[in-house]
Point group: C2
Chain length 177, copies 2
Amino acid sequence: MARQEIVFKEAELDDAAGLADFLEQVVTESDFLSQDDDSPNMTVEETACFIQNHLESPNQVCLLAKCDARVIGVLNIEAASHVRVNHIGDIFIAVAKEFWGHGLGQILLEEAIDWAEHSGIIRRLELTVQARNERAVHIYEKFGFEIEGTKRRGAKTKNGDFLDVYLMAKLIENVTE
Amino acid sequence: MARQEIVFKEAELDDAAGLADFLEQVVTESDFLSQDDDSPNMTVEETACFIQNHLESPNQVCLLAKCDARVIGVLNIEAASHVRVNHIGDIFIAVAKEFWGHGLGQILLEEAIDWAEHSGIIRRLELTVQARNERAVHIYEKFGFEIEGTKRRGAKTKNGDFLDVYLMAKLIENVTE
């Protein structure tokens, strides 16, 4: 990967096709996502709508890692619009398998935390992660996420075995500069 | 309330208008819901679509408490369709303020647990509840829900004060009769 340039950027409308392709691919590559290959994929139009919605929301962002024109990683922050919970950002993160082990997820996470601290609205970032995915749990802890609880039967494998899932969160203090 | 007959039933398409009205009312009455009166309300058409979707899903149900023709309580179980997590039912429960304190929520909860045990698919029921809502927490515990974690800043008041929110869950064993 040494000579390939990776660009990190906010998803724009013309990333819709690339992001839809990436999401379709990534669910087949990892057993750690709550989505799986039975999940209905978003069409390109739905993905464009999703990106537009994020561009217009002060408390949502979709960050991409791209190699040339190809989307190879995504970190999405989803939040509700109503005041009671609009300070809570829910993180989804995925990296294409051939790029695992190069720290792309960590760069995306760093960007996302920085975005949240400057959002003026997000005061809590949360995510869920399978307890068996120790590598991911350690990375999240390194970035200040704490395990708040364990969801028993929070997911199941293709064989129907139940898995513990951690609820992790990091409190965000807004930075004004 | 002694002479009023309360009926508990699964929501059908012709409950759409009544359910939409009820949901619009209930968000103004309680500070304990994650929705609030800033939340966009569902139109009657959207509510009908929501009910239809639940009627067709093996892992979702919308239960109503009705007094005459009026909807006065709802317990909704929402679940995802993909296999990794289609055994998890997320509970939303609300009762009209003038009927608080008569145990309607408990009857709805009992019905919902019975429904889940006979669903053949739900193996975990989960819900979130503000930690300060002690009465509700005790009722959930009475029905076998356990606190799995505390979400710091899991909600905020209208004044912007952050609240702890419990993640509670009950494991379900399917009953075949």
